[in-house]
Symmetry: C2
Subunit: 482 residues, 2 copies
Amino acid sequence: MLDLRPVGYVIGLLTAVLGVTMIIPMAVDLAYANGHWQAFGQSALITGLGGGFMALACANGVQRRLSLQQTFLLATGVWMVLPLFGALPFYFGATGARVVDAVFEAMSGLTTTGATVFIGLDDFPAGLLLWRSMLQWFGGVGIIVVAMVFLPELRVGGMQIFRSEGFDTGGKVLPRAAQIAAQIMAIYVALTIACGLAYVAVGMTGFEAVNHAMTTIATGGFSTSDASFGLFQGAPEYVSSFFMVVAALPFVRYVQLVAGSARPLWQDAQVRGFLWTLAVLIAVIWAYRVFVRADSILHALREAVFNVTSIITGTGYASADYQLWGPFSIVLFFFIGLIGGCAGSTCCSVKIFRYQLLIAAVSAQIRRIHSPNGVFAPRYAGQPVTDEVLSSVMSFLGLFVVSLGLIAVSLALTGLDFTTSISGAATAIANIGPGLGEIIGPAGNFAAINDLAKWILTGAMLLGRLELLVVLVLFLPRFWRA
Amino acid sequence: MLDLRPVGYVIGLLTAVLGVTMIIPMAVDLAYANGHWQAFGQSALITGLGGGFMALACANGVQRRLSLQQTFLLATGVWMVLPLFGALPFYFGATGARVVDAVFEAMSGLTTTGATVFIGLDDFPAGLLLWRSMLQWFGGVGIIVVAMVFLPELRVGGMQIFRSEGFDTGGKVLPRAAQIAAQIMAIYVALTIACGLAYVAVGMTGFEAVNHAMTTIATGGFSTSDASFGLFQGAPEYVSSFFMVVAALPFVRYVQLVAGSARPLWQDAQVRGFLWTLAVLIAVIWAYRVFVRADSILHALREAVFNVTSIITGTGYASADYQLWGPFSIVLFFFIGLIGGCAGSTCCSVKIFRYQLLIAAVSAQIRRIHSPNGVFAPRYAGQPVTDEVLSSVMSFLGLFVVSLGLIAVSLALTGLDFTTSISGAATAIANIGPGLGEIIGPAGNFAAINDLAKWILTGAMLLGRLELLVVLVLFLPRFWRA
Ligand SMILES: [K+]
Ligand SMILES: [K+]
């Protein structure tokens, strides 16, 4: 019998902490004297007590080691339970949201997706806007820890190639997680402060800067305005682009950088691959805008830099409706969203290292053409790639495409059109934010779609955020066997 | 220096044979006394002489063995040269087609894609209709031979798992190809005749039966009418479905069946996987039509059987515009097209065995959860799958998605909309035929799209038909190094 108590204990603790953090937006709403603080009071009470009781109830089963089964359950459990409690302020608060909308928004926050069902953000109580940003900020740091500690351990999606990077836990996932989390958290906080100060320097108000700094470093994409980044044209777009790129690189390199070693960052195969890809895509979109669409050089450059960075990192801010840039941009942006940033960052989607492994596999095959009897293992970052890694990367790619297809088909079954179904499935599973089309496009909003579709998308965000297999194994009877 | 003569010799011979076969439609047009026979006379002369001279010019370099480089060049060369000559009757004939349209149609024929740029098929000279069907029929048998002899040898896309099935050539590709081709050809002819007789039995004219029998067994999808299979509602749809399924199974099993052994067919993992997938999809579409769209039980069953079979086998006949069945059907049919039939048949697309290998890889990963220190190789059809196979299947899946994306982006750059670009790329690379949307949907036609898009699609058909890598390696400088 699978012992659920160690899992429940950690989830309970994290839930209780989430409840405590609700005091921050409560204080903000108290300071603004808008009466909205009570929604946070209620939510904090329920969340804090709920989490506390869960932890207490499970405390007698705490172990130093988690089995692999328990580790899988923990990762999925955290992202299933926390959104339910994180949704309470939307349910009790000024939005008076129905359950489906509140949970969608909280899941979109904690998975750093950034799709929103709310309209009229500009008039929201400050505390509620802050809460949305905080959800993304928590989700961002949470996923870095998961990607660096849990996924290599679970050998999911090829992430085990990052085990050798000093993050081998020797099975002691929890103590190691705490240690790594502390280092990462310090860097995460420092980057957020730097980003916020930079935003203030280019003209944002303090409140806007705090919120956007949190959702930038989390590559989350929630904004304080219905117009998203449309309010902050010009210098803020460059500042934002810089920090989105920073947030898309592997955070372990920053730990090493702080320890005095810059070389691992510059020589990281993912970092190089990501920056090159980004540069090429910006150049392509920029050239298209200047030479085909006759836009001015600087305006086109700014919009290309910001929007390409926003979509490839999966942040999902929009400063312009790129659907108006012609079909080429629309289709290109769709596929840019399927690239993603580096593993070990806050980014989601397929991620750059999987494309690099793909290139390595193709390259190994081509070498075999010239030497049919030679043995050529694909190599990544100078190391041969084991067949176990290849097999799990293949699982990831296959599951990604198949899941995307099934989600799109399910969305279509609820009545959404082809473009909305396909792009909605992609934006949810890749945790980007905006889709395509009039409804959920960069100028649109998820408010108008039906409830069933919202639930499907909520599930898709969870699935994508946890690299698919972490969630999918839970549906297999074989997983539950002792 | 790569010796191109053995490659040129085979291509020349095949071209000369293609020229000789043009005498058949010429004879038909002579019999109908419509004066159109001269177009075939000219084409036959140019093709026969062109091929003959090419073979002669290369005859002094003929070898018994081809190097891997030469084998790659041969496969791609055949599908690049033959469509150019096969296009001549469209250029000289009643269609008076421009070069781009003639080549598109011939490529669509020889790759068994079945997308057409011609409107008014019902009034075409009989010889020209027959020529379109013949192109698909040649392409179909050609691809079976390539899939059974060349691809396992080239170790492309995981096809090497079929090497053990009695098709190991020991490097002597050409003599073995001739032997296999003879057996396959006999079965191919027999199936075509059976299909044609069945079509006559359910009411087609002799001419319609001959044409549709050829394009059914080739899973090609060209028809003799603009209405495609809309003219043959009822029993012909069931007959057609049966033979499309037959054409989608591995032809090597028929060779064994004729030799008296039926077990390999029934026990083939691909066959079982394909038939189950087909049955489930038919049931889903049928249930949707009956329960959600309130269609009658038998009408819904017939349309579900025919259209699902047509798309999953990549045949691409349309008996109804399934775009009118609601968004669920549209999105589902899009993804059904990405499944495909069995390797070693006339089908294209991703193919069922790659999904089975994917499931095997996922399954191996899940077994590791319970026994973290165990070694679990994915297994296919009872055999462990080598890492070389996994690596090349991964290359295929990755290249398929990336190519589809790049083709879609290129199509969008020519001005096509999102749905047309994405579905056009998919239908071309998977050699299905119809796309989605008003322009290229099942009720549409490729005549209206721009020339650049037609060239891109022509390239995409070639790329998809040869499992991507066979064509793509030719673009690598490394391939050409001695
Ligand atoms: K996002
Ligand atoms: K076809």
